[in-house]
Point group: C2
Chain length 481, copies 2
């Protein structure tokens, strides 16, 4: 019998080649260990509810009522739902034709897209057009759809920061395009050097690649930095000069843990720059209900907003969206709720603010606990997590650890992370999954374990790390400086 179409050797090569380390070897090993009864702390993926974060009450009340509209006629409904949740559920149901069980327009419910546009206008100070906002099943699906529109073949290149969130490398590989890396500078707090960017583009062109788009992740994943206005301006000017679409991954815009560099959207900076750039630079911005302090990952709600994309191209993007009929409608409602939460004076306002601040303030404390914890470890250095939900410490592996890893056929950071997992149950992602400079090693953890568990986790990490270093260090003094 000859081999079959769905045998491994006959699969689409792009499927086989793509890698997604966030759920890669470490995650699979952690899942195995969990099955065997070991307690695992999953810090591999930004999944707050899985680590004990409670959902915000108000949005869950509204969605429960939208799912069970017959409750709205129940005389007892007021006993367990507040009046503003009831009113909001009625408002959302009025925006749909057929409730949550009906496909919506493939771009999403018009009323929700209007709420998103109003949120963007409040945030940036410039009006936003709901017709240029598409709701999606989470931000990842939106990113994939836009990349699919852009990438025509292997000679189309997309500029991606290194380290990067591997959604980008995996999607570009899957779509058969070329990833063009630009490096973030760890010693400059993961800032971006425009000269390095220019060099990356020049190198790619030399290889025959047409660079067509540039990805920024702000706040950064896995690196946690917030881009400055000056940096964003440089990036936008660069995209204008080089004729690149700017893809702004801004899913962590609510997750800011310092006050010096608040989040500023790429769109606001672009529109502030005025003509001709404000009318010429093409920008697609992504957002989601999975991150922020909501952390509603499992609901898969998101949107993208297009700036300076001509109507004929928007139509094509709409057409492709329509093949999957519509994003999930409950996720759309979550998006509407997130951009238009309870207001001062609403019954649920105080509770909403209390819950939100509780989460955000705790995340801020955890960002400090984690960074400080890493920096107290032997051969570990870590920039402060300014935003997003990750720490990305550099692990300075002694040569003997690297040799041992090589002998075992493992990348050195994979070897370190596997040992960490076996010793402590902490499931991280090796830095090589995000890309790093040659000979430099990192790991990524989320800052999401419960605050009360954090001291024990960091202690357990330190104990493992310092013993690991002790074991593999050359005691003649290497890397103890």
């Amino acid at each position: 019998m000859s081999s079959k179409a769905l045998d491994y050797e006959n699969l689409n090569e792009n499927v086989k080649k793509c890698q997604y380390a966030v759920r890669g070897e470490l995650y699979l090993r952690a899942s195995e260990l969990q099955k065997e009864g070991k307690k695992i702390i999953f810090t591999n993926v930004g999944n707050p509810h899985a680590l004990g974060q409670r959902p915000l009450t108000f949005p869950r009340q509204v969605i429960a009522l939208c799912q069970a509209p017959f409750l709205l006629d129940d005389p007892n409904v007021g006993l367990i739902f507040p009046a503003d949740a009831i009113a909001r559920a009625k408002q959302f149901l009025g925006m749909t034709s057929g409730g949550l069980g009906a496909y919506s327009d493939s771009r999403g419910i018009p009323g929700v897209r209007k709420e998103v546009a109003e949120f963007i206008e409040r945030r940036d100070g410039y009006p936003s057009d709901p017709e240029l906002i598409f709701l999606t099943d989470g931000a990842s699906k939106g990113v994939m759809q836009i990349l699919n529109s852009i990438i025509r073949g292997p000679s189309d290149g997309i500029l991606v920061p290194v380290p990067q969130y591997p959604l980008y490398s995996a999607s570009i590989q899957l779509l058969g395009g070329s990833l063009v890396p630009y490096y973030l500078e760890e010693t400059a707090n993961w800032g971006l050097d425009i000269n390095d960017l220019r060099q990356s583009v020049a190198q790619a062109r030399y290889k025959g690649i047409t660079v067509r788009a540039m990805v920024i992740i702000n706040p950064g994943n896995p690196t946690g930095q917030c881009l400055s206005v000056a940096n964003l301006k440089q990036i936008i000017q660069f995209c204008h000069q080089e004729n690149l679409v700017l893809l702004g991954d801004e899913v962590y815009q609510q997750n800011i843990y310092q006050d010096e560099r608040p989040f500023i959207s790429a769109r606001k900076v672009l529109l502030d720059m005025g003509l001709p750039l404000s009318k010429e630079v093409q920008l697609v911005s992504f957002h989601t209900v999975s991150k922020g302090y909501w952390g509603e990952c499992g609901q898969r709600g998101g949107y993208f907003e297009m700036t300076n994309i001509p109507p004929k191209a928007v139509e094509e993007i709409y057409k492709v969206a329509s093949i999957s009929l519509s994003p999930n409608v409950p996720g759309q409602i979550f998006m509407g709720l997130m951009v238009n939460p309870p207001k001062p004076g609403d019954i649920s306002y105080d509770q909403y603010v209390r819950e939100s601040n509780g989460i955000l303030e705790s995340l801020r404390r955890r960002a400090h606990m984690m960074t400080d914890g890493f920096n107290s470890c032997r051969n570990v250095v870590c920039n402060f997590t300014e935003g997003a939900m990750y720490s990305f410490p550099q692990i300075r592996l002694p040569p003997r650890a690297i040799e041992t890893a090589n002998k075992l056929g493992k990348a050195p950071d994979v070897f370190y992370c596997l040992r960490l997992l076996e010793a402590t149950g902490i499931s991280t992602v090796p830095g090589s999954g995000f890309g790093q400079k040659e000979g430099v090693f990192h790991l990524r953890t989320t800052i999401l374990p419960a605050e009360e568990d954090m001291p024990a986790i960091m202690e357990s990490f330190k104990k493992f790390n310092d013993e690991f270093m002790e074991k593999y260090e050359d005691h003649k003094g290497y890397s103890r400086m």
Copy 2:
């Protein structure tokens, strides 16, 4: 300024070329007319709740409780939720780690996949392995993922029935493969002729195409036929001989409107055939919560089950699924509920059965009303809708109507459907969107308008059609036989 990456002329050609008529020209025109205030009857897409079908109560109660788990501790919860819904919600929440707000495993929640496997075993009489079942955001996403694994380039061909559901043509185009059509025979009640299939494969091979997979849609969309066991056996044998993966789109398996040909899954027929076929033919079967009598389209829940796909290929499919993190979790819960609904003796059982039967029996009556209605019209012939939720009448257009359409630069069936839309508000899809034989014209409607509205809709259709025919017919006798 040179043209930009997201300008129309620079987009990925596969994006530009793909077509999805279900939400194409007719739908866009209908949406415009609706905005202008015209009453539109949307029969273009199988979207039951949008046409007034009410959601089943029990699943909505369970999902509402899962979304608002704090209600489970509310002393008043028993006043508005039955005890079995409360128990089921607790059971589902126990299957997740972190509730509905946490990403699940990328294949879906293990407990739900187990429920799906048990459903398949009850249905087919053969055990099913949960590890080979992946939950998806609706069936369409599953189909796209499997096609993406199979299609390596333009010389990979996928056999697709004509007429077909345009998800297939659109996805194959988007993924850069080749659609290899095989015709369903209208005069044989949309049956499949194995000789025609052989010829299609031979022709494709002659053009240098490697045919790798075959799609069947059973019950048929848009054609409504149920495949016989004899036909399914022939298909499976053919796939074995020709080394094709069989893709079984069985999303309408609950929607059966006659008793002579019940739904039988491709998997059951395959396993009934015994060795060697039962171990050699590769099969992927698709199902969803959008269809059946649930019609929960907006929730985007579905699954695919793989048979005879080797573990290394399953791993690759898992890896690609993991890039999008996880299917939406509420949709997964719906899938679990659909395959494991209330049982005799449960508090909610009677209501569940009453609601389910009410919908299914009404659909059966509507299938008759619609087919009979079409067959009473001048120059219209229509096979009975045995299953699924569509009628696909043939419209015998007079030559003068065809000439008029040609002059206006419209396909003749598009011309007819546009006139129908303007005259009556009935929004259908022209048969050319599904594929049809040269010179033969159809349209597709759903059978979903509310039963009480159906007589008026069919009367309005008949009035339009018969006047249209009167106007365009050659009164010397053409096509009145």
